[in-house]
């Protein structure tokens, strides 16, 4: 194409030679889940501005739960209407895919978010401050920790109810992320869910310095990785001349029609494709928390308020794996010979690295962070399978894993001493003697993480490893089983610590939660056991949802 082509696009438009620009056709009904959550988030911002301070908390909690439930109903409605299978198609002028994996993951994210919002809203765990019930979030985020203004804010009974709209914004980005069908939407969705998460990390009520430090680390590294993702997008755009997934896939596989001279020039340049694809993968693997892009995970998980950690660990992982699956299965299947060896390596070091480093941890939140890294590795094994079973097993694993994670972090919020949550492992010694029920529930979650039969972790791992083995990744399965065994060691060690050691005299107490956290933990246990004992219905559901629209 001539070098003046771009210029002429502007001038012909200015001279009125073009016909009317047709208005884009948006299928609002099929985008309803995202739009409901986004709308509720905007209303939440208005609530912060106009509703009196004392009733904001109730309005925000009600609004968030109703919006998430309505969005979930919309997802179920779309799935029942066949948009997950026969009517799967690409909506919003090619920007959003409405198909099985997208709807399945959106449903998972929404259910996990409802549970996470319950833990956000918990106000019974901390002792009352000046007669006001307090939640896990700072009284006033802008006040310096330990300053007079902070004390004044606590005394006045301020609470950061902004966490609810922030969480809703994050959820809306996460809903778009696995459904994004062009690279621009992918990038915008990534930022829409990342930016609120950076803020949520900084809002802890206790240990605020640590919380702010976690936010800075997460923010700087997150921005760094999204810059890599964006440059990768630029290179792929340069390679294919388009950011649409379908077009890029055509160009990659060489089945593109009408090649203009510019495209012919860039298509021959494999450096653009390989470097671009690698940089996009880097950005997504960062969000997933895979080794060697996992450095942020332990610090951020430890420093962030525990309800936020649970939300982040569950929902972000679901969204990011959804986007990763779509990228590898829809955009880059034509170069699977190039990315499979790399992903093999990443999966192996993620599984082993997460499991081995977790052994040395002494903080329960850091331990769960490294465990989440190991789990990212197991899920990557399913991603590498490159067959339909690979997709469905990853979908199932994500659903099972997210509820266990939120439940486990909800239990962590209950074990407290004078300084807030007692996260050091030594303080958990003898917990089973002092409060058998909480310890037993936590043991169930740990067994599910370890993948013991009759828990959801076992069904998930079995499905993923089976898919990987059928996909020709037998060696990966062997590594996976070995690192599962390593991981089981430190999960079991925590259980032994809880039940078979003497409680210390100055040990932590277990707070009695309100119905909210109880519900979150109850849902976690129920999902763990149901998916462990009778997984078939959900495996079928994931199997039916496992076809990407192209």
């Amino acid at each position: 194409m001539s070098s003046s082509a771009v210029h002429s696009l502007w001038t012909t438009a200015a001279e009125g030679k073009l016909d009317k620009i047709p208005a884009p056709h948006i299928e609002y009904a099929q985008l309803a889940p995202t739009l409901i959550v986004l709308g509720a988030a905007l209303i939440g911002v208005l609530v912060e501005a106009f509703v009196p301070r004392r009733s904001r908390y109730y309005v925000q909690v009600f609004l968030s739960v109703v919006a998430l439930a309505a969005a979930f109903a919309a997802v179920v409605g779309l799935a029942a209407g066949g948009y997950g299978t026969t009517k799967a198609h690409i909506a919003a002028m090619g920007a959003i895919a409405v198909d099985g994996p997208a709807l399945f993951l959106q449903g998972t994210i929404l259910l996990a978010s409802v549970v996470a919002v319950f833990t956000f809203a918990e106000r019974r765990l901390d002792p009352e401050a000046h007669g006001n019930r307090v939640d896990s979030f700072a009284a006033q985020a802008a006040s310096v920790p330990g300053s007079d203004s902070e004390q004044a804010a606590v005394k006045a009974g301020f609470t950061t109810t902004e966490v609810f709209p922030l969480a809703l914004f994050a959820v809306s980005g996460m809903l778009v992320f696995p459904a994004a069908n062009d690279l621009l939407t992918l990038f915008v969705a990534l930022e829409v869910f990342s930016l609120p998460l950076y803020l949520l990390c900084a809002l802890a009520r206790r240990k605020r310095l640590m919380s702010q430090e976690a936010a800075v680390k997460y923010f700087l590294l997150g921005a760094f990785s999204s810059a890599f993702l964006l440059f990768g997008i630029a290179l792929l755009y340069g390679y294919a001349g388009s950011v649409s997934y379908a077009t890029i896939a055509d160009v990659v596989s060489g089945s593109v029609q009408n090649v203009d001279p510019a495209l012919a020039g860039t298509m021959g340049n494999d450096a653009l494709l390989l470097i671009g694809g690698a940089m996009i993968l880097m950005g997504l693997l960062f969000k997933v928390g895979a080794v060697p892009f996992h450095m942020w995970t332990p610090d951020v998980y430890q420093g962030a308020p525990t309800p936020v950690t649970g939300f982040m660990a569950a929902a972000t992982k679901v969204a990011a794996f959804g986007a990763l699956l779509r990228l590898l299965y829809v955009v880059l299947p034509g170069m699977s010979w190039d990315w499979r060896p790399v992903m093999w390596g990443v999966a192996i070091i993620t599984m082993l690295g997460g499991a081995v480093v977790a052994i040395t941890q002494t903080d329960i939140k850091r331990l769960l962070a490294y465990s989440s890294i190991a789990h990212a590795g197991f899920i990557l094994a399913g991603v590498i399978a490159t067959n339909a079973d690979g997709i469905s097993s990853v979908l199932f694993y994500l659903g099972a894993y997210s509820f266990v994670t939120i439940g486990a972090f909800a239990v962590v919020t209950l074990v407290r001493d004078a300084g807030g949550e007692a996260t050091h492992l030594s303080k958990w010694a003898g917990l089973g003697r002092r409060s058998p029920l909480v310890a037993a529930v936590f043991a169930v979650f740990l067994l599910a993480f370890a993948g013991i039969p009759l828990t959801s972790g076992f069904s998930g791992k079995f499905a993923v490893f089976k898919a990987a083995a059928e996909g020709g990744a037998g060696a990966l399965v062997v590594v996976g089983v070995i690192s599962s065994a390593v991981a089981a060691f430190f999960y079991i060690r925590v259980i032994v610590l809880m039940f078979f050691s003497e409680p210390k005299a100055d040990g932590p107490t277990v707070a009695v939660p309100s119905a909210l956290t109880t519900a979150a933990i109850g849902v976690g246990v129920a999902v763990t056991l149901v998916l462990g004992v009778a997984p078939q219905y959900f495996l079928d559901l994931a199997h039916n949802a496992s076809v990407f629209v192209r």
Binding site: M1, S2, S3, A5, V6, L9, A141, A142, V144, P145, G146, L184, F187, V188, E191, L195, Y198, L199, A202, R208, L209, M210, Q212, E213, A214, A215, V216, K217, F219, L220, A223, F224, A227, F228, L230, F231, I233, A234, L235, Y237, G238, G241, S242, V243, D260, A262, L263, G265, T266, P298, D299, Q302, G303, T360, Q361, R366
Partner: protein, 99 residues
């Protein structure tokens, strides 16, 4: 002029930004280096847009600017709150959570 030269410039700017993120110690400067990387991406987008003769890349550059602006809002808020509580914006000082 050959548009490919601008691509080399974009890659160079991106590398300078990435090196700055890894080397510099002040959170604000680290953040500025990230912004430099985003601008390098913009240059690459506009350059590819010219190369292919479609407007996608130029539109994406606008999106990137908006995203970068939103990132500044969030990022500076976090960095300023860190600075106010520690009187230092050094990323080395923020080490409460070392293994």
């Amino acid at each position: 002029m050959n548009p490919v030269n601008y691509l080399y410039l974009a890659a160079l700017l991106f590398t300078i930004g990435a090196a700055g993120v890894l080397i510099r110690r002040n959170a604000i400067v680290v953040f500025m280096c990230v912004e430099l990387m985003l601008n390098a991406c913009n240059l690459a987008f506009v350059c590819f847009s010219r190369l292919h003769g479609n407007l996608d890349g130029q539109i994406i550059a606008f999106f990137t600017m908006v995203v970068a602006a939103a990132e500044v809002v969030v990022g500076l808020a976090i960095i300023v709150s860190l600075f106010r509580s520690r009187h230092s914006a050094s990323v080395d000082d923020a080490s409460l959570m070392k293994l």
